[in-house]
């Protein structure tokens, strides 16, 4: 904690006034790794980037909360609140446990030397906005792909299309996006089939308790693993920015306050639940029964651990979704393939989508302090709009398992029943088949 007091804490007191004073002539040269001078303008940018990185970390948490907890919440193995508290704690613990921070943030997509601090800011913005938009539609998508996409977009704007290695995109994004759901899906399908065959004659009163314990344990492992891997990302970004700004010695690890701040940000995000995504994963793809949930949890944690330790990186989101899909197929349940295909579509769009936002943000971030301030205002505006849209059909811990749909626009519901939609008071209980909504009544 002392570091922030010495290097950032004391100047921050005078910062607001001095930044305002420096605004008219703020078009100084931009930060590059070689020629960075720590003056007020750049300090302002650094602090902004750190704040935005923590916001990204928060969206990372609530976007991925469902990866671990959608299954247990859907089957009732964990109550929604308990699930997110457990997930949040394990994410914080995981983030604090991870000792080794990724050496590069480029992931091999482009040359690390090309990255400037404004590019990092633009990339983070692209990732945050993409995460919020997919959350609004209740679509699980990979936060790492969003971050890479945002950074790639910013780098393309700054250094041209040729600076990005397209082959790496194929091998690190496209191929894993196909492989992850396939591997996890096959594992989950077989495991589910076996679980049902073995316990066919066991009374469900007995079997459910056991399977629920199994599910709670595997979900906890996924949450812990998520903290160790995704907590690092933000720590890596903040540390890189501090080093680039000469506020931290090159080659040193993350400061204690960086670790704690990143851990808390991802934990708070997880705690807030991302209930829209939780509903899609727990209810939208397929109805999850208890033995099926245990089998898909086993497949998710096994695949995540295998991919992390045997050298072929797979996205937690893609693995979890694949497991749930596979477990549905294994049980012979009715899988909503339309939801599944919409998700795959979102996965493919994540990199270019976040890249587009990141690229546009990079144009602004390049305009010095004025651009940075404009970016923050824009980000706040986008957050507010998306939040307002999400309020039209709120999904919380109380109603997450009541339906399988994530509605976004009012047009998605019969207009005459809004906003006194009866669903909001008494959501229809879903039997095996989709229940018809009482639209005709109100239209008449």
């Amino acid at each position: 904690m002392s570091q922030i007091d010495i290097t950032i804490g004391s100047p921050i007191v005078h910062l607001a006034a001095r930044v305002l004073a420096s605004l008219p002539g703020a078009h100084r040269h931009h930060a590059t790794r070689s020629g960075w001078e720590t003056d007020v303008t750049e300090l302002f940018v650094v602090i902004t980037v750190i704040a935005v990185a923590l916001i990204f970390d928060f969206t990372n948490g609530f976007h991925d909360s469902a990866n671990a907890m959608a299954g247990p919440v859907a089957t009732g193995a964990l109550r929604p609140r308990t699930a997110v508290i457990l997930g949040a704690l394990l994410n914080v613990v995981g983030a604090c446990l991870s000792t080794e921070v990724a050496k590069t943030i480029s992931g091999g997509f482009f040359d690390d030397a090309l990255i400037t601090v404004p590019m990092i800011l633009a990339g983070l913005l692209g990732a945050i906005i993409w995460n919020l938009m997919t959350w609004l539609f209740g679509l699980p998508s990979s936060s790492s792909h969003a971050l890479f996409g945002g950074l790639i977009g910013a780098v393309v704007v700054g250094a041209g299309l040729a600076s990005v290695n397209g082959w790496v995109i194929v091998s690190k994004v496209l191929l894993p996006a196909i492989v992850a759901p396939l591997v996890a899906g096959i594992a989950a399908a077989w495991a589910t089939r076996l679980a049902y065959r073995i316990t066919r004659k066991t009374p469900s009163v007995h079997s459910n308790t056991g399977f629920r314990y199994g599910q709670a344990f595997t979900a906890s492992m996924v949450a812990l693993a998520h903290g160790t891997s995704d907590g690092q990302k933000t720590m890596g970004v903040i540390t890189l920015v501090l080093i680039a700004a000469n506020l931290q010695a090159s080659g040193t690890g993350p400061q204690l306050w960086v670790i704690i701040a990143a851990g808390i940000a991802i934990g708070l995000g997880t705690y807030s639940g991302g209930w829209r995504i939780m509903r899609t994963m727990g209810k939208g793809i397929v109805e999850i029964e208890t033995p099926q949930g245990a089998a898909s949890g086993a497949a998710t944690s096994a695949t995540i651990l295998a991919s992390a330790h045997l050298g072929f990186g797979l996205s937690t989101t893609h693995v979890s979704t694949g497991s749930i899909l596979g477990s549905g197929v294994g049980r012979g349940a009715e899988v909503r393939w339309s939801v599944a295909s919409r998700m795959v579509f979102a996965w493919l769009l994540t990199l270019p989508g976040a890249g587009l936002v990141g690229g546009l943000a990079a144009l602004l971030a390049d305009q010095g302090v004025v651009g940075v301030i404009a970016l923050i205002v824009l980000l706040a505006g986008v957050c507010l709009v998306i939040y307002a849209l999400s309020r039209r059909h709120r999904i919380t811990h109380a109603n997450v398992t009541d339906s399988h749909e994530v509605l976004v626009l009012a047009a998605a519901a019969p207009p005459s029943t809004y906003p006194d939609d009866p669903r909001l008071e008494t959501p229809p209980k879903l039997k095996k088949k989709k229940v018809k909504r009482p639209k005709e009544k109100s239209a008449a």
């Binding site: 000792t99 191929l175 594992a187 077989w190 076996l194 073995i198 497949a299 050298g311």
Partner: protein, 76 residues
């Protein structure tokens, strides 16, 4: 940049095998414990079956512990 097909193959095999083994242990353990419970309710003795069931559940628990060992970098 090449694609590490070997690593991909290993990840596939290990993921599927581990998931299936864990689920077999869990499901069989649950079934045995349930069978023993029903037996003792009917006045019989299910001691052998129940201990076999809990052994299997214990092995499944060990797999979870191994998973935690893999996740926590300080342990290895």
């Amino acid at each position: 940049m090449h694609i590490d097909w070997a690593a991909l193959g290993v990840v596939t095999v290990v993921s599927i095998t581990t998931s299936v083994i864990f689920t077999i242990l869990l499901a069989t353990g649950i079934r045995l414990v349930s069978v023993a419970k029903i037996k003792s309710n009917e006045g019989g003795s299910g001691t052998a079956i129940v201990s076999a069931g809990y052994t299997l559940l214990g092995i499944a628990g060990l797999l979870v512990l191994y998973g935690i060992y893999l996740i926590v970098p300080q342990l290895h």
